[in-house]
Amino acid sequence: MTDNLDNTIPTPCGAEGLDPIKDHFDLFHTDTYQDLFEYKRQFEGAHSPEKVAEIAEWTKSWDYREKNFAREALTINPAKACQPLGALFVAAGFEETLPYSHGSQGCVAYFRSHLTRNYKEPFQAVSSSMTEDAAVFGGLSNLKQGLENAYTLYKPKMIALCTTCMAEVIGDDLGAFITTSKNEGHIPEDFPVPYAHTPSFVGSHITGYDNMLKGILTTLTKNEKAETTNGKFNFNLGFDPYIGNIRELKRILNLFGIDYTILSDNSDAFDSPNTGEFKMYNGLTTLAETADSINAEGTFFFQKYTTPKTQDYITKEWGQKTYNFRPFGIKATDEFLMALSAITGKPIPLELQQERGRAVDALTDSQAWIHGKKIALYGDPDHVLGLIQFLLEMGAEPTHIVVTNTNDDFEAEARELLTNSPYGQNGTVWGGKDLWHLRSLMFTEPVDLLIGNSYGKYLWRDTHTPLVRIGYPIFDRHHMHRYATLGYQGAINQFNWIINTILDELDRKTIIPAKTDISFDLIR
């Protein structure tokens, strides 16, 4: 074995003596392959290029848009995933916690692949591997074995259990199954197995996040209520793919000198250091801290529509105050910091005040390039609200706002935000719609910029609207998740991505010599 822990640098391969190797980027554009494609066409039974062009044009029309919006049964390119993804995501933030999905095994393979592709990090989770016999007899036997095997092999401190739709349809009762597993000695009596029913045919990944978080808090805080509070505040970021946000929040809280617990801190789970040694568990929220979170002064949430059940539980069962903020952009960060200051009685740190000034300065410097630009955007409800707020304060005009996993309260809040700003007057919230609807919107009422996840690249290709990648998943650009989008630093990061996409696009548009390069400016 090559010892990759020594520091020897391998010799470069070099290009001498060999014609360049062509991979898919170049190979298939050579004459050889272009001829091959042409020859293959005769067997394809394809429509004529004229017909294809005609229909392609038609898909851009108002007529097509109307037919597209008349859909009642069909969903195309939705901007939402299913519940267990969110359940696994939140579970990964807790100390030595193994996420476990009870049901068919293919689901876990998908969740792991999806999260891994976004973060380029390992994601470890297990399944009950249920098959036909479990469909008939129920999944108890699979769960007993699965818990015992996972506990013995991977030695977690906690297993966070959720379900797939198979287990839900056959009606497996997780609570009873866990009790049986413990009674029969498959796992120790005192071993925590919080659980959540997470059927994929209800809600979306954010619903699963909520259900699992509530499950974990319910299990770990049982009998932990003390006489007095612990002087800490809890913070929850929701299904926020930017691990940079957790780190940024912690920095802000440390500057304030506020004692806190992050529920759940999965920043290292999705960004662990490479030391040459694989560490399976990287969740940073300890079980002890979580147990004690019931005794906090209050809990802050940054994604109201991701966490309704958890918030209801905390308010009612813990008797604890909950606060909702979305500290994205300048004004929303101001509000959050002022509230933190008011609630804790601590002044806003000077460092943050200076950062505010710098962020506002940055916005002012580039504002001319975004003023009045029409924007299409999509994503989860809270994510979209944060973006709308930020865009409005920069003078951009959120125009098409698509939220597949919508709800009425969110839509009302989004509309209010738009109505109250002069820049929001042309904005429409399209709840329950998908990215194929958005395609029609972007063809019939074009915009200047699209903000979305990697799936948005198909809209970029079709409509030539430049894409700023903000959201989940981002598969085709690297390292975006490491940055913060929260607070003043986050505002600068998001602004940087947006402004420089606009400027890149201007260069792309003006790059043809003697034709468009009149405006290929050195200074912008």
Binding site: G45, A109, S113, S204
Partner: protein
């Protein structure tokens, strides 16, 4: 880790970490290839052990993701809740040529997005209406396949009835695929189920559906490429070689394939099958029904490519055989140059593989062409016949692991200390954190093609850049 006994002891040591029952089950799936053995000594195609972290997927993944998904001008509906289609959306890199959303649909996600009411009241009505909507919005689609997700099979929907009705209504194929994720033990049953739908729903009507190319006359050299999914464009260099030796490829099923190509298949003289695991069923059927023979080939690395080209040519006359020799000779100098360049950089490097379909065996000789040795291999969802075939490919003493668990794979890697691990996305970053070079062998790590002579060049380059990557030298901090 030299002797057979050492390796068997390692397997035992790994098994000791399991509870008794699981250890017993897993012990049947781990072994060492012994001298003279006609198989690899492992059991396969059995249920995964719950809770151990299998890498396997499900029947839906096999049917939609593998077999049907790449048929580019049909709409493949993920029928049920939203997740399955979402996670598998554009994940496999089945390259194709076409105007997406107009005459091809490969990188789109179509779903019936089941809600609670669909579970309670059934989804057939929704499905019926949904196909109407498809027809309105995508008039150029050549048909629809309905890939059932778990709930559909549990609530008693009759998707076959809907399929029959809608096919009649629109005069286009509508193929119901009962690939609910709980069926079978892995992706593998999904392949089989999808193959069976071709047998039952497509081929019986092939004559009716088929649009023959202008002036088409069946010829003695007509062949189908079966089971090449065109990942990173793999099927194209393969097609190129077959055409260069004088054969006429009338169908690619399914990478960059069309529905018409699927119904062209019965006209061929020979089925050339690359991924035996996922498509042998339909080849066997066509042999029985139409008398079309089938032949497995391996287009990974110059040694196997030459061997396969000769094997294929031997099925035809001397013209083809002569051309095959010409083609092999034509590419040889370039292959020699590639090997000359990369072999010294890779000689003696040890590889551990774990993939699906055919690659755990077929890629072994391509590594050998570069002087690299595969010291461990295994399948996610192989069967006994795969392991039999594997025995011919691997060296004695190779560790074989079937449906390897995360724990086993990590422990084997720690002990066997390979220079490269070639497996999937879920494994990649585990091993990279262990400072082990890694290449994804499902997606070609976003590179490719790897098939054919053109593909081998890319393969060689990629293995070199994974192993001889300067960032590995940075992992250890200078003060540590």
């Amino acid at each position: 880790m030299a002797t057979l006994e050492d390796k068997k002891a390692l397997i035992q040591e790994v098994l000791d970490a399991y509870p008794e029952k699981a250890a017993k089950l897993r012990s049947k799936h781990l072994d060492v290839k012994e001298e003279g053995a006609s198989d690899c000594g492992v059991k396969s195609n059995k249920k995964s052990v719950p809770g151990v972290m299998t890498t396997r997927g499900c029947a839906y993944a096999g049917a939609k993701g593998v077999v049907w998904g790449p048929v580019k001008d049909m709409i493949h509906l993920s029928h049920g809740p939203v997740g399955c289609g979402y996670y598998s959306w554009s994940g496999r890199r089945n390259y194709y040529i076409g105007t997406t959303g107009v005459d091809t649909f490969g990188t789109m996600q179509f779903t019936s997005d089941f809600q609670e009411r669909d579970i309670v009241f059934g989804g057939d009505k929704k499905l019926d209406k949904l196909i109407d909507e498809l027809e309105i919005l995508f008039p150029l689609s050549q048909g629809t396949t309905i890939e059932s997700e778990c709930p559909v099979g549990l609530i008693g929907d009759d998707i076959e009835a809907v399929a029959r009705k809608k096919a009649k209504e629109y005069g286009k194929p509508v193929v119901p695929v009962r690939c609910e994720g709980f069926r079978g033990v892995s992706q593998s049953l999904g392949h089989h189920i999808a193959n069976d739908t071709v047998r039952d729903w497509v081929l019986p009507k092939a004559d009716e559906y088929r649009k023959l190319p202008e002036g088409y006359e069946p010829g003695p050299y007509d062949v189908n490429i079966i089971g090449d999914y065109n990942i990173g464009g793999d099927a194209w260099p393969s097609r190129l070689l077959l055409e260069e030796i004088g054969l006429r490829v009338i169908c690619q099923f399914s990478g960059d394939g069309t529905f018409n190509e699927v119904v062209m298949t019965p006209l061929a003289k020979l089925n050339l099958i690359h991924c035996y695991r996922s498509m042998n069923y339909i080849c066997r059927f066509m042999e029985e029904k139409y008398g079309i023979g089938w032949l497995e080939y391996n287009f990974f690395g110059p040694t196997q490519i030459a061997k396969s080209l000769r094997k294929i040519a031997a099925q035809f006359d001397e013209t083809i055989q002569a051309k095959a020799e010409e083609v092999i000779a034509k590419y040889q100098p370039r292959m020699d140059a590639i090997v000359e360049k990369y072999r010294p950089r890779l000689e003696g490097k040890k590889v551990m593989m774990m993939v699906g379909g055919l690659r755990p065996r077929h890629v072994v000789p391509a590594f050998k062409d570069l002087g690299m040795d595969v010291i461990g291999t295994g399948y996610e969802f192989g069967h006994g016949d795969d392991y039999k075939r594997t025995a011919e490919y691997v060296d004695d003493g190779t560790i074989i692991y079937d449906d390897v668990s995360g724990y086993e794979f990590e422990e084997f890697a720690k002990q066997l200390k390979p220079d490269l691990i070639a497996s999937g996305i879920k494994e990649k970053y585990v091993f990279q954190k262990m400072a082990l070079p890694f290449r994804q062998m499902h997606s070609w790590d976003y590179s490719g093609p790897y098939h054919g002579y053109d593909g081998f060049e890319v393969f060689a380059r990629d293995m070199d850049l994974a192993i001889n990557n300067p960032t590995w030298s940075l992992i250890k901090a200078p003060w540590a």
